[in-house]
Amino acid sequence: MNQVTNKIVEKAKDIYENIKKKNKPELKSPIRALSNVRYDNDEGFFELNGSMKSRTLSASTVKTFAQTLKMMSLSKDLIETDDIATKREAYYVSKNWGDARFKEQTESDTVMDDVEAMFTVNREQLGFIPEEKGGEIAGRLIVVDKSPDTGKEIRIDCTKFGSGAYSIPSSVEELKFETNAKFILAIETAGMFQRLVKHNYWKKANCILISMGGVPTRACRRFIRRLSDNLKLPVLVFTDGDPYGFLNIYRTLKVGSGNAAHINKYFCVPQAKFIGITPQDIIDYKLPSHPLKDVDIKRIKDGIKNDPFVQHHKKWKRALRQLMEMKVRAEQQALAKHGLNFVISNYLPEKIKKPETWLD
């Protein structure tokens, strides 16, 4: 029995004992929200505050109580048989649970997240894996993986995908890396990634390119973290110049999210730096822009007011205020105004040379 199954059985015992003693059993898990995280300045990521969500067995909690216990049972099964289930599969498994079955996958996802938080493990350790793809890699990197059937080592050279790329698998814990690149460049959009791959930017700059495709998945974050930790590589982040790029993509990559606060420790990249597009870039490079949408303005206000990360980073606060005054946002692709390859010939080299223009 491994550590996780031990924890699960212990919890079940505790509940059983309570029922025997005619006490109402309780399930406790940390509250997973931005309001219950603080920014740990030394470690550089979001850490949970103490607030716990306690669910005492009662008429109104009995349904989730039953579902949580069934989910724990499923997890124990998966670990013991060395199997995995995607979140979607777990939802379908619940269809055998009689009245306790889930109606929607969102319900089963929430219960899964609760179990995860309850035992402060990540869901891969519980035997659950996400369906989402983890991002794409191109550049000077060799990933050492194992063949699923023979168990033999496989060396994957990320320079050899031509105009394609290597996909980050959903579980990255066992991977090993070899490289002589100088830095990692994490890019928001697949479009920009394509351009940089097509024109061999990684060769010119001697770097590893990662396409995050929006907010990076846990696997993608973990991959970048391990890669950077193992090989001592700096991580540069390149997103659109808008609140979504700043607060959803960059912030989540660097310090984690409120929802996954219990596991941020493993799924953040505190060493990441933001190179662009900054609000100042929009001015300096005279980028064509669009007016801020209502949701953008709301996100900025919310970030300044409630996001512990922004509150700890004066530079970010100033940048957000600056964007708010400019009332505009600009996309990565806006650099094409100065020529399609301006980003490769001018923007990236200039920005990389001047760390003082970055945001932390």
């Binding site: 079940a12 059983y16 005619k22 349904k63 109580f65 216990l69 724990m72 009245d99």
Partner: protein, 581 residues
Amino acid sequence: MTETTIGLDAFSEPETEENKTSTPIKKPVKAHELAKKQRDISIAEFFEKNRHLLGFDNKRKALLTTVKEAVDNSLDACDESGILPELEIVMTEMDNERFRISIEDNGPGIVKAQIPKIFAKLLYGSKFHSLRQSRGQQGIGISASVMYGHLTTGRPARIMSKIGVNHPAHYYELKIDTQKNKPAIVKDEEREWSKEHGTKIEIDLEGSYLKGSQSVDEYLKETAIINPHATIIYVNPKGEQIIFPRASEKLPYQPAEIKPHPYGVELGILMKMLAWTKEKNVRFFLQREFSRVGNKSAMEILEKAFILPTAKPARVNRESAEKMIEAIRSTKIMMPPTNCISPIGAELLEKGLKKEVNAEFYTSITRPPSVYRGNPFIIEAALAYGGTLQSEGSIQILRFANKVPLLYQQGACAVTDSIGKTAWRSYGLSQSGSNIPQGPCTVLVHIASVWVPFTSEAKEAIAHYPEIKKEIKLALQEIGRNLYKYVGKKRRVHDELQKRSYIEKYIPSVAEALKELLQYSDVEEKNVIALLGELLEKHRGEVEDVSFDKTKNVEYDEELAKIGKEEVEEEKDESGNEQDS
């Protein structure tokens, strides 16, 4: 404008006529030629051309208006004489779209000399000059029906009335001389009538009989609901006899007649009153012709208006009268007495509603009297919720003014407006903006007043006085709060039952999951289920039964409720077509 053209034609731009050489120049009409065409238009003639103002805009409505006016008069007469009313209404279809309506009451009867004037002279009646709560107000209604009947069928109305056992019954056949607004008597004779006292009127008229929510059937049903002391027997053109039996032997409170309150008086009326009064001086005039004016307030008004207290009322000119009005407005005068109003009473209102709808919950309220423009009024409201009421669509609204149902012009009525402007969402109904709320609900509103302000002479919608709307809203808010309490209780019981079913539903899953995790025996699994059941249901007491029992409401009258709810095949709306005929 040329000097020779005078009158209406003066405004039809003679210059442009002259400039157009191709068209023959119109010969200017001479003033004396025009004068030949100008003459008095009698009120009767005016209404003949504007019958929609009186509720005769289409054939369907003509039947309703005629029945309504006669019934209103009968009930008023019975109430004033302290008689429990017994009405018999018979409607027969004589020919295509030609009907005979006969309405017979057991009222006090009418003295011979008055009969022609009451039924065949517009604006003649006992009610226009008095301030007392009654159904009729203006003295137009029944004579307009007589006129309409004559106009559409050429036949006079037939009236029989008897005032007591030792008196003969008088029979009249009447028409209206529309030019002179004078009764034209076709026949006048004495007849035998077995009835002790009462009045019967028979009118032939053109109409169209349809069932449904704006039918005579619906009108009589609502009348019966709101007048529980009356017995109404009704035979509709299909030969179906419907009896609405008396539900209460108690005569309604006899409202007192009051003098007008100074706050409600307007210049024209004041001047008329000044001219007609028998009082010797203006001080007595104010004290005796108005309610709530004592010596002190009379002197204060006169002082402010610069009128000598000893001045003769008839000598007060227009300017002084105007000053008097201003003075009245700035003088503090006690609100009028309210014993002149006879509400139905919250209890009877609720009883009536129970007859009409089979719901789970009823509530009603009679507001304390209030005043608009010097006229006292009382708002009453009742509400029924749930049960067999439809939960889809807008709530049903029943409007009454001085115990008369209002079936038309719902959208224009102050009641409807006030219902829309009440925040029903906080009382448990759904509502978007200021619209009529949605839900399984019927709301009844009654206004009782010495003078109900209507938006038109057809008396279909109540005018939008802020004081009235405020009172309606207060009444609605109060019944709304009661509704909320009930809906809240229902929700709590529902939640509780849901929780109990939850417990039963999910406990086995908890025990099963624990069994999988801890590998205990099936016996132990049963044990855990029992323990959990005990643990969770320990603190739960008895649940009150709020489920709807349709047999609980003993007042409910299914046959009655059906009246007026029939599907109407096609609404015949001929309004507009006849206005200019």
